[in-house]
Symmetry: D2
Subunit: 382 residues, 4 copies
């Protein structure tokens, strides 16, 4: 697709995702991991302004000099920023003002892109687009948390489908031992953490062709899975006990019956849907209980062409580490990926919240082991 | 004034206070002591619904059964409530919905009051009105905190005057020792904590006819007041060091010059205005530095007819304790005052944020010793 | 008594209190309020060295220059000090070394006192003696906490009696309204916070001639006292719920039967003994449940000659505040009392742990409202 | 060596390590990661009692039934245990009592081992011996922390050498790409986490033949290493800023000159010694600053025969994960390793505190990324 069209389409899609919201929904931040939707709108815009317009559009004047402070996320190289936990304390700039900011930046970007842009500008724009797509997914999961945390459990969009039942039979796919190639290949866009295609040796393994379902996870719960410390990491056990975790996030037991809150509203738990909103700790404990394990990210990448994927981000056993030839980009963009490569786990695949053109077989998503507000799921290996 | 008129006037005034707000400003809660304006609107309304309409208006159906849970503040006897620290996490009900709720309750109350109400209904309404007036003051100070905490420092109302310069000369008023009568007298409305008029013995004392000014407080700062532990309570010293407190709340040093944020915007510090937004700890340390002390609430009540007051809530040295004949009201309304009578200090007077008909010479306001977001000030005694 | 004898007797008594201890017991600090016995031994010694020997004994060389840092408690004017919470992290100086330090300072003090000491030296010594007596009581209650917190529940001294059953009948003593004189009178030693004898007006009141017993307190528990929020201050309610408080400190329910740990070991709860180890919050809630209240410290001081006291420190309803003519002493000794006069409650009387010559009818003890490790008790008023 | 001799020698060595201690040093726990020496003595003894004597010695009666509760570390399957952070709050059992306990268990073990023990007993004893050896190293580093945290900085043993200067020239060893075998081989003792010898593919790499020195680390500090966020993981940056970390643990700047506290006392920093007491975060940042990286544990294991090692535990870039065929042991011993396999980094090698017969080229040590109280060091790779 043409870069300008790709850019505009992405910008429009972000706005569309916010259409069902009340103004008030744009503002709140019930937990530190969730950002207010208003902040996502501003931050993705600031990214284009900071890294492209300020440097590459002659005579560009920033929309508001305070916005750099407010909408910077973690780029220490760019200067002071609002502490992440305080994003929900800011009522201003107003939502309307942030939309004005978006319009302003979109128009200037469009002008820049239409004026025979350099290769560097195109590449930076591509990063900006994919950055915004990442935030589109976060926007949806953050909205889900904001609404799902509200005692009124408001509906986001009654037609939103979180499920994608896999109605095929569960089977084990077997792969032989050997040296395999891992990492991004080709000219298409990818993040720096996927680069450096390299060899890994894999022992023989089997991997399931199907995600774990709510039904299976319920059996784990009913079998006392949350009460058996032998299934858990020490740190996971402490986490479930401290936080009184006894089921996936967004599950509610009402009059003895399990329900789950979805972006389509509160429903009875659908047994055949793939389980979601579980932490790595829970995914691991479930696998232990089944006498299985989670796949490594390498096993996943090699086997993925053989099964369907895309409903849930799939926890892997792999720690998030640099590939052998990994090199951080220079400057602020170098902060994008590398500085998170410790104490997190890799997730592979994509989810029902992932936007178009944002899923790749080599894509490396990553989160801390206790986080659950993304559409995370479980695929077993042996 | 007629009770219906008094009621309607109060309800309208609350709405007027919110007129300058953006929708977003109604939602946030930057610190636990501050409540979102939306919550004040709902809570004062819920008070009328819960304590009057549900019991005294035949066939009344509550506007929304969830609102009791959301807008209850601390009345443990009424059932579950949203934890205070979580008020800012609720985007719903929307501001519009809360205004609908207000309209609904106001109309039903009006109908009740116009239909020959019993004495009990009138008395409860009076409590509800004064309860709402208390929240009108909190609404203003909470709005000030919400806007003043925002890096953009938005203006609430450019014409809002926080000052009331006392341009008379500072003098000491002397009062003789003796037995004095303390507490509410007469038929007018007051809270239960003012009742039980009783005798106290006072030693001879002097009290200033003027509040401490920004200029005087600045001298305290410049003399190293925040660095001299001998001026502070042990707990106050720990508080200023832990929280890096070095000036009143809402003061900003910009290019070496002191400014203060007011509801009228950010201004240069006006030296002759009475200092405000200081904690009891700071008021005490300032008095120590001056070689004076704070008055007791009894000294204040006896002397108050002799000086002007009303610009700032004045910290007293008195702990908030029950009067000798104090008796808690029965039921949930008994939770109004008595359960806070420990580890707080009494403030007397009223402030620029206090609404009409809400100041009394016997009024006992009270806050924890570290709180500063109210319009608090200092009057010295000897 | 002669000052030298009084001094030596006090020093010896401190050592005697420690005789039943193992070396290990001198070192630990299970909660921040409790200090290791070793620290008490060092701190009371440091007081004599710092405030008397260094200034008044010619050519005196401090025992160890590091000890000022280690054994200073809170005297900010004297320089850096080990943070209170870290006292239990110091294995050195060893217990033997601290006893050497005691010997060294005792001998030098003795020499000073035997050599025709000035009036100032005698007065400072008197303060030092009473300071050590205060720590003798803390030593016992800290030892009780250290041993009582140990799963082995070791016995301190099998012959130690914590009880002093009051076997007289409970009666109400009535006192008439009037102006009374409060505060220390005469030449005997007292603390600065008792000085400034002054008038107070008391309304008529009744006060019990007997402390509340374990039996009565058990009835409060069994009647759901810890589950009825209407009996509690808001802050007290939060405190019992957060800390899961359901009985006095050192009570243990074993096979359905209540026991209490005493310095004499673990025993069945003795019903007729006065209840102890309760916080102000609990004392207040109990009084509410009984339809009574706690006395003020003034009511207590006036009535005390008419009843027996000395078994338990008695919580009063009075906040710890300065008397009308209170003036802090100059220098570091001025930190002794004044800086704690906020957010604490006064206790009157004395306890089974109070040493000889340390109880006075005007004595003002004080603690935060949630503390329970002292021998605190309840006397009711009406 | 004969199992009985090996056992007795190990037991004796533990006692020898404690010889320089005062009784008080056995008791304290200045941070949660450090255990009181008394606890190590008891815990290593309890291990033999719990897992061997209770099951395999007929008619064995436990020394004290309370000790299981007190000296259990984390074996959830064995029942209740003292919370780790509370170990330093226990003055009893006394040190003498714990030594009695050791004697008692040693004698019974000796009897068991001398009486033709089964293979299972020998294997369990071997685990117990190695378990005690692990604790011997912790004992030394915990003692160092206890003494080094004390303002008196007491000497443990003036003749203790922490250094082992590597006086050879720094060179890069190059290894070719290929498939290598990783993991334990042979019949000698090893832990379960080293088992499952398996193939890994390594890209070509170079590894230093020498540990990073204090001199080099000082250059990193002097070049502003602790102020350049681009060198740090996001989590590491937050950690150094929150904890004000600006140099390795046990370094002291005195009158402008760097010293380090060692078990031999406080000395001037010796420039040529290998740096130690740095966290993974610091090791990583240092490597970034040098333009290098840390080796993976696999690279280390393959190259280790080519260089000297044993002075410092060497941080690797590898997360602590199970080997492909890893299987937890049944029962409580299964808790030994597996449950820690998340959010920790592998360290390879051994240190000056590692006891004899406890270092192996396949040994996998592991700690959280912020811990520094072990003798950790840095070896670079490229």
């Amino acid at each position: 697709m043409d870069i300008t069209a790709f850019f505009l389409q992405t910008r429009t899609h972000t706005k569309n995702l916010c259409k069902p919201l009340e103004i008030e929904d744009y503002v709140v931040q019930p937990i530190v991991d969730v950002s207010p939707p208003k902040w996502h709108l501003g931050h993705t815009t600031w990214f284009f302004e900071e890294f492209i317009l300020k440097k590459h559009l002659i005579d560009y004047t920033v929309f508001d000099p305070n916005f750099s402070y407010i909408f910077n996320s973690y780029y220490e190289s760019i200067g002071k920023r609002v502490v992440r936990a305080d994003r929900g304390n800011l009522s201003r700039p107003s939502v309307n003002k942030v939309y004005e900011y978006r319009e302003f930046v979109t128009l200037h970007m469009e002008a820049l892109l239409n004026n025979n842009p350099s290769k560097e500008i195109v590449q930076l724009t591509e990063i900006g687009i994919h950055h915004e797509k990442q935030h589109q997914e976060l926007l949806l999961t953050d909205i889900k948390y904001i609404l799902g945390n509200n005692p009124l459990l408001p509906i986001y969009d009654a037609s939103f489908k979180e499920h994608s039942t896999e109605d095929h039979k569960q089977e084990w796919l077997s792969l032989p031992e050997g040296i395999y190639e891992i990492g991004h290949l080709g000219e298409e866009f990818c993040y720096d953490n996927e680069l450096g295609r390299h060899k890994v040796y894999l022992s023989p393994y089997s991997i399931s062709n199907k995600l774990v379902t709510n039904q299976e996870y319920l059996e784990f719960i009913n079998d006392g899975g949350y009460e058996r410390f032998d299934l858990w990491h020490s740190e996971g056990w402490e986490w479930i006990k401290t936080n009184k975790i006894e089921s996936p996030l967004h599950w509610h037991q009402i009059n003895g019956e399990w329900h789950h809150y979805t972006l389509g509203g509160l429903n009875k738990l659908e047994r055949e849907h793939p389980v979601t909103h579980i932490s790595y700790f829970e995914a691991f404990a479930f696998a232990q209980w089944k006498g299985c394990r989670l796949p490594t990210e390498f096993e996943w990448e090699i086997a993925a062409p053989k099964f369907k994927w895309g409903a849930r981000w799939e926890w892997t056993e792999s720690a998030y580490l640099p590939y052998p030839q990994y090199k951080k980009a220079d400057g602020a963009l170098g902060e994008y990926n590398g500085k998170f490569m410790v104490n997190q786990k890799v997730l592979r695949g994509s989810s029902v919240a992932t936007p178009n053109y944002h899923a790749r077989i080599t894509y490396r998503n990553f989160f801390q082991t206790n986080l659950r507000w993304q559409y995370t799921g479980i695929r077993l290996a042996q």
